[in-house]
């Protein structure tokens, strides 16, 4: 009898308390939503809306030079795009540019990180100096390279080439050399990022497992292959993902150095979309190109993320 009485009393007191709790939780959620709203709206206005507007624009013919031809065209821009040889060339240039710069950044960055890890003194200085290119604006980097480094006869690189007996080269005028140059510039600027991330990751690896590996008779190369690389894998994949997304949408450095030239030798997809929109003033078709770039970026990062999860 006594126990039943206690139980029912408990139930009676519990019910209103949980009701009260629910009201509180609801209020808390509403307050949280109110706090989030400004940021959420700002984000919508500055990212989602322009993106949707871009997709919308790509369905129109919008030619500022010939406004009388403007109007809704549906998928026509995309049909043109698929048979546009310059689109395919610029896509290929984008992929070559991205693939080679990301690969170079990871390889050079990892090599530097391994080297600096073994430095007993001056590690701090090395880090400070190494990070400098990253903090520069890509446009500034492009200007520095075009004038100070690559200018014929007077640029440092050309000066070194002459002294090395290679002779003066037209670094930005020759199609192949121009591509090599823009790849080198991007790699120069962004390798420190890969270097810093990989160095931090390397520094967090426990030292004792390397001692264990030495006693297990692993050579330096085997220690690198069997222990360092697998343990750095998450960091390397992360660097690849982040750098790939940035390289696919690179713009300022190439724009200031070659502006896509000579001809279309260094015209990545991003630059082609820009040229179409703002040089040729064909906004509708430029939007379609930008959407194509967006799709390519999404597909590639989707593949990279899938690889990251797959392990």
């Amino acid at each position: 009898m006594a126990t039943t009485a206690v139980t029912s009393a408990e139930i009676a007191s519990e019910a209103p308390r949980s009701d009260f709790g629910r009201v509180l939780a609801q209020r808390e959620r509403r307050f949280a939503a109110a706090l989030l709203a400004p940021a959420f709206l700002a984000l919508l206005a500055t990212t989602t809306f322009p993106l949707l507007f871009l997709v919308y624009t790509s369905a129109f013919r919008m030619d500022l030079a010939m406004p009388f031809t403007n109007g809704f065209v549906g998928f026509e821009n995309y049909q043109v795009l698929l048979s546009d040889e310059r689109f395919w060339t610029s896509l290929l240039v984008s992929l070559v540019y991205t693939g080679s710069t990301v690969a170079l950044q990871v390889i050079i960055g990892l090599a530097l990180a391994l080297l600096v890890m073994d430095m007993k003194r001056g590690q701090g200085w090395f880090r400070v100096i190494a990070i400098l290119p990253v903090v520069l604006s890509p446009a500034v980097v492009g200007m520095i390279w075009r004038t100070f480094m690559l200018a014929p006869e007077f640029g440092i690189v050309d000066f070194l080439a002459i002294n090395a007996g290679l002779g003066s080269k037209n670094w930005l005028g020759d199609p192949t050399l121009a591509m090599v140059s823009v790849i080198a510039i991007h790699t120069w600027q962004w390798t420190p990022f890969a270097f810093m991330v990989l160095l931090a990751s390397l520094a967090s690896l426990p030292e004792d497992i390397y001692e264990a590996a030495r006693l297990d008779r692993a050579s330096a190369w085997q220690r690198f292959r069997r222990i360092t690389l697998p343990l750095l894998r998450p960091a390397i994949v992360m660097v690849i993902i982040m750098r790939t997304m940035v390289a696919l949408t690179a713009f300022a450095a190439i724009f200031t150095v070659t502006a896509g030239g000579p001809g279309t030798a260094t015209e990545i997809l991003n630059l082609y979309a820009y040229r179409k929109s703002f040089t040729e003033l064909s906004i509708g078709y430029g939007s379609a190109l930008a959407v194509a770039l967006l799709i390519v970026t999404i597909i590639i990062s989707g593949i990279l993320f899938a690889m990251r999860r797959a392990k």
């Binding site: 426990p206 004792d208 497992i209 001692e211 264990a212 590996a213 030495r214 006693l215 297990d216 008779r217 692993a218 050579s219 085997q222 069997r226 222990i227 697998p230 343990l231």
Partner: protein, 350 residues
Amino acid sequence: MSGQGQVSFRNIVKMHGEFAALKGVNFDIKPGEFFALLGPSGSGKSTTLRILAGLDAPTAGRVLIDDKDVTSTDARDRDIAMVFQSYALYPHMTVAENIAFPLEMAKLPKAEIAPAVKDAARKVKIDHLLDRKPGQLSGGQQQRCALARAIVRKARLFLLDEPLSNLDAKLRLETRAELKKLQRSLGVTAVYVTHDQEEAMTLADRMAVFMSGEIQQVGTPAEVFARPNSIDIAGFIGNPPMNLVPARYVDGDVIIAGHRLKTTTTTAGERDVVAGLRPGALRMTEGGLGARVDLIEDLGDTAALDLDCAGTMIRMRVADGNIPGEGDTISITARPQDIHLFDPATRMRL
């Protein structure tokens, strides 16, 4: 066994800048021996092990393994297996891959690796965990995995750096016994670093006791226990530790707290000494040294008494059923051969 496993240290000195971690260490380990390096933290025992493994280079002196000078030989080429205090398992590999790693590095054919891994895992009872990663194992299981990785290769020397210190008390006792059996069955030379004198006493065939960068005594646990070389070792070995009380030596007798006791030690004339009395060597008797019982710690089958002998604190261990009450006054003595005398200036045994 790919070798004999005989070790000699000749005047090994290790400097860290101005600080001498090892001040000229000499010892020999016989093949097949279980040899413990015992000492408090910072005494140089781990440094000694690292120099033996080849992970650190000595500042001076020579290391010989099987009569070959290996002082400048890399750790890779010394044919030594080691269990680290932190276990140092490869976190990205499964237990099986961890154990297989030394064999793969030795370029053993795949067909031989799998059975060897199974065999080693079975010896340390982790053959059901082969597919797990170290992060999914308990501390004790990780420790066994590290052991398996060390024994799988059949190296000539087996080094253990405080392998039990990260285990809980019960597991430590179990593993201690298993470790001894394992070493016996493998017949391998083992060098064991520990700061726990009980571990060293129970495991070791012989041990070296380190004090501030020097070896103060080498011997079997029984020898070191029965005849500690110095005040520091006397205070370090044995639980509860030896009573070390100021006393005066007069013609074969020693005067402690005003009471005269016979000793077997003979030294010239009359002098101040430190007398060492093991708690378990003290006896209650008539007409001995008077002492008041301050505190009793009942340990079940024995009890530890804190005694006040005219201002000098002495601990005594008595068997159950023979325990006086707190506040009682009793009279104690020790046999002449159980009284250790030390020089208070040099801190060495007289």
